[in-house]
């Protein structure tokens, strides 16, 4: 498709630091190529702001190909913007029209405090992972041959689909309860579906859920917004699996 140039108005959340009071600011940006990605458009805005001796907008980003999970942004009221199955860095300006006003906000959740402008602190996800998101195997390279335990392809595929989570936090940001159950459910499922992960399955789900609650994430009420906005298409089936694992573990755990 031929590229063209559009002029847009941006309403962007600006906040000096975590303690400061923030507000929406308005910017106009002209000559945005529709071939640009959304973040390239923000680069262009920042170039303009710097040249005007104004402070550029801080936003998280790194790989710019939808896999590192660093970029975020609530765009026109939707996590990662209007397109489906992508991250903000994969969103392209061809989805917008000349003259559009675009609202850009950070993830909003009690468990993701704002660091600056559009940057939020997602270290709560790391702490959940540290509480149990692993298999306790030390580095030796000599556990057993990788092909010693066959894994049914369907389970391996499901484990992979759950493991495809990039930890961006769109699920939390989209959830009216600020729940992290899609994120935690995906990690619990990945290991629960693999024979290597079954050994610690009970402790894992109990520890991860406990940490999730301590971080202040809300509960799941089966709205399904997380699944819709997840850039990696993680299914809420994983939440159901986590609930089953949790129930089973709560009843049968020896602790």
């Amino acid at each position: 498709m031929a590229s063209k140039s559009i002029n847009i108005t941006l309403k962007i959340w600006r906040q000096k630091n975590k303690d400061a009071k923030g507000q929406m600011e308005t910017y106009t940006l002209n000559n945005v190529s529709t071939d640009s990605s959304f973040l390239e458009m923000l680069d262009q805005l920042n170039e303009q702001l710097i040249n005007e001796r104004k402070e550029p907008v801080a936003f998280d980003h790194d790989c710019r190909e939808g896999i590192c999970g660093m970029c975020s942004l609530y765009i026109n009221g939707r996590a990662h913007g209007p397109d489906r199955g992508i991250t903000t860095c994969q969103l392209h300006m061809r989805l917008f029209n000349d003259g559009d006003t675009i609202y850009v906000e950070p993830w909003r959740s009690a468990a993701f405090p704002i660091v600056k402008d559009l940057v939020v602190d997602r270290s709560s996800f790391d702490r959940i992972q540290q509480a149990g998101g692993f298999i306790s195997v030390n580095t030796s390279g000599r556990t057993m041959d990788a092909n010693a335990i066959p894994v049914p392809k369907v389970n391996a595929d499901k484990a992979f689909q759950a493991a495809a989570c990039i930890g961006c936090g769109a699920c939390v940001a989209s959830c009216k309860n600020g729940s992290a159950m899609l994120f935690v459910g995906a990690k619990v499922s990945q290991y629960a579906l693999l024979p290597q992960g079954r050994v610690e399955a009970k402790e894992r789900v109990l520890n991860m859920v406990r940490q999730m609650d301590e971080e202040g994430f809300g509960n799941c009420t089966n709205t399904g917004a997380c699944e819709v906005e997840c850039p990696k298409g993680i299914s809420i089936e994983n939440i159901a699996r986590m609930n089953r694992e949790f129930l089973k573990a709560s009843i049968t755990s020896e602790k």
């Binding site: 104004k54 790989c63 896999i67 590192c68 392209h92 195997v137 390279g141 392809k153 992979f160």
Partner: protein
């Protein structure tokens, strides 16, 4: 300075085993008294931090991202090699070793590469034990595919997200150690200098990227796993914030930097679209298992395509030039990356490029044949022996979707074209850097106590890396090499006691960092950091890219020198030191990229031969293949820093010895 690679004596297959038996150990009760700093949390860094934490060392790990899981290893797509021979197609440790040395165009160290091949199988075992969900066959066993430069199937993968799955595996192991309190994680922290006390690496200066605070961190050893420097080109497949600064800082403090001109330009990336573009996106090499690369045979057809009057699907089979299959029948579309990239450039330079951008640079990667043949197979497997054409295509597309779905979606989002229906347009882009900090067999740099692993070092890939070998090296270094070699070094540190951060060396390093920050903030120039970075990128891409010439390199040295002066005079960095300031971060990185860029040109100019990714136009054979000069250049070029003018850098040579492999012309025909 005499370079000692410390390669152990003995036959190639016994070197590592013997070395391990003879290295010193640190007893478990002594390990908690020893501090280790690890910079970077990609495959090499996370695996090292997890392993050393498990062993009981007191580890601090640093990453500039908001979480260790974001490191750019996460973006590796295609796979990881291992000499498991699960496919029974004749693979072995020796063959993986041989393919890697040959793939590197005989400019890598035999000892290191053999060790890499030896531990490759352990990596897969380790990852499976950690719960990495590799692709499997219906029988439940692990699946493999082919990568460039090999004639066996030894690549393990997880769809087009292998790097992600491996990194999350290492991250889970690291998270476990953080949870147990054995690793202290510093995220959103960037190393800005190394501190050397009495000739040994004793710590780092880091900036807290949220508060801007400059911090001192002491340790008995420092490990750099800070990745490659592809972003010197501005446009590359690297993450936006990947940079050379950690490696460059130790270079400035005495670590030699080897083979900086050995850069991998990957053949299958999405072509450049415009001037506001911020990065390039890779389409995995694994696609060359199923895709065939071509351009039209007739220039008129190429022109018609560019002007939009002809579609690739309208060009009949006999009017297409499958140039890799034509030139390299033995390896076909799966020749190594440098070879494939040059071949694409040759066709585009000759006027057959199909992309309608400024340079007409683009070739097709076509999946139509594969869709048809896999569709037929799938139909047969379902018992549909006389399936209709439509049904065959449907099943074929399904098969492709399962194998490469995420890549096809990525492509469609960026280009707005559907690769299931029309061939992908691709062109080479900067992807990986073989050069890096010079290290010995123990992965130690020329600064005692400073070790360098993964892409940040130079040791394993020679002048060209084979696909699916970067992940292998990162994890090999972190899980299976460093824990031994670092312990050997640390065995002499058990009586040292705590390292103080109050020494004058820490004081000086901190002041230098603070001064350079203040200088940028007070500069009040007129141009943004990106303005300079983009200009640097164009110089290095045009003159130290796929084709290099003496005249071009001399110009590059000159132009980069001018750019450096202009940068310091005229760059404008907004904001303050004591806050989150991404522009300041960029300025500090670009300052190092500029110096590195000039050294790359110096290195490329001195190497009067072509090898792997280093193609000097003066040195090619009649068919346009690289012409090595083994008599004069069979060495690693390790440069010593002598100030910010790279022409003053001093060259040290490490002669490469080929004892297990007979050195020969590289042939993929």
């Amino acid at each position: 300075m005499k370079l000692d690679s410390k390669i152990p004596e003995g036959p190639i297959a016994e070197k590592w085993a013997n070395h391990k038996n003879n290295m010193k150990l640190v007893a478990p009760n002594n390990r908690p008294k020893i501090d280790v700093i690890i910079v970077g949390t990609g495959l090499a860094g996370s695996s090292a931090a997890a392993s050393l934490g498990e062993m009981g060392y007191n580890v601090s790990a640093f990453c500039f991202q908001d979480s260790p899981r974001r490191a750019h290893s996460i973006a590796a797509q295609g796979g990881i090699n291992a000499a498991k021979n699960y496919q029974n197609d004749g693979d072995s440790v020796y063959r993986l070793f041989y393919d890697t040395i040959k793939g590197g165009d005989y400019r890598a160290r035999e000892g290191n590469v053999h060790r890499l091949a030896e531990v490759s199988g352990n990596i897969i075992d380790q990852c499976v034990a950690q719960g990495v969900p590799f692709a499997r066959e219906y029988g439940g066993l692990l699946d493999n595919r082919s990568f460039g430069g090999t004639q066996v199937q030894r690549t393990f993968y997880a769809a087009g997200q292998t790097g992600q799955q491996l990194l999350l595996g290492a991250y889970s192991a690291l998270s476990r150690q953080i949870g147990l309190g054995r690793v202290k994680m510093y995220h959103r922290h960037e190393m800005l200098d190394i501190v050397v006390v009495d000739g040994k690496a004793r710590g780092i200066i880091a900036r807290n990227l949220v508060t801007g605070e400059i911090e001192r961190h002491a340790a008995h050893a420092v490990v750099l796993a800070s990745g490659g420097y592809g972003n010197v080109y501005f446009l590359s497949t690297n993450a936006m914030r990947s940079n050379v600064s950690a490696a460059w800082k130790i270079h400035k403090r005495g670590a030699l930097f080897a083979n900086p001109c050995f850069v991998q330009i990957h053949p299958t990336c999405i072509p450049v679209h415009g001037t506001n573009q911020s990065k390039l996106t890779l389409m995995s090499e694994s696609l060359r298992n199923s895709g065939r690369i071509w351009v039209p045979k007739k220039k008129e057809d190429a022109e018609a395509i560019r002007s939009g009057n002809l579609k690739p699907t309208q060009i009949p089979e006999e009017e297409r030039d499958y140039f890799l299959e034509r030139r390299y029948p033995a390896f076909g579309n799966l020749v190594p990356r440098d070879v494939a990239s040059r071949a694409a450039k040759e066709r585009c330079d000759a006027g057959f490029g199909i992309e309608a951008n400024d340079t007409n640079e683009g070739v097709y990667l076509d999946f139509a044949s594969e869709i048809r043949s896999k569709g037929k197979q799938a139909a047969f497997a379902k018992g549909e022996h006389s399936a209709s054409d439509e049904r065959i295509l449907e099943l074929g597309k399904q098969w492709i979707g399962e194998k490469y779905g995420n890549l096809f979606t990525m492509y469609q989002k960026i280009t707005d074209e559907n690769p299931y229906e029309t061939p992908m347009k691709i062109y080479p882009a900067v992807h990986y850097t073989m050069g890096g900090v010079w290290v010995d067999y123990n992965l130690q740099s020329t600064i005692p106590g400073c070790f360098v692993t993964g892409e940040a070092n130079f040791s394993d890939h020679g002048a060209n890396r084979l696909g699916a070998s970067a992940l292998m090296q990162g994890l090999a270094d972190g899980y299976f090499v460093l824990p031994y070699t670092l312990s050997d070094y640390l065995a002499n540190e058990i009586r040292t006691g705590n390292i103080s951060t109050d020494s004058p060396e820490f004081e000086d390093a901190e002041n230098e960092v603070k001064n350079s920050i203040q200088k940028f903030l007070a500069n009040n120039g007129t141009k943004t950091v990106d303005y300079f970075h983009k200009r640097l990128g164009l110089i290095v891409w045009n003159k130290i890219g796929m084709g290099r010439s003496e005249a071009g390199l001399k110009e590059a040295i000159e132009e980069i020198g001018q750019l450096r002066d202009e940068f310091y005079k005229d760059v404008y960095v907004p904001g303050d030191a004591n806050e989150m300031n991404p522009e300041l971060e960029k300025a500090l990185r670009v300052a190092d990229f500029i110096e590195l860029g000039q050294l790359m040109a110096v290195d490329a100019l001195h190497r009067n031969e072509s090898c792997g990714g280093h193609f000097r136009e003066e040195y090619q054979d009649a068919e346009g293949e690289t012409l090595r000069d083994d008599e004069n250049f069979k060495y690693a070029a390790a440069w010593e820093y002598k100030g910010n003018d790279a022409t003053q850098s001093v060259l040290h040579k490490e002669e490469l010895k080929y004892e297990a492999i007979k050195i020969a012309a590289r042939n993929y025909k």
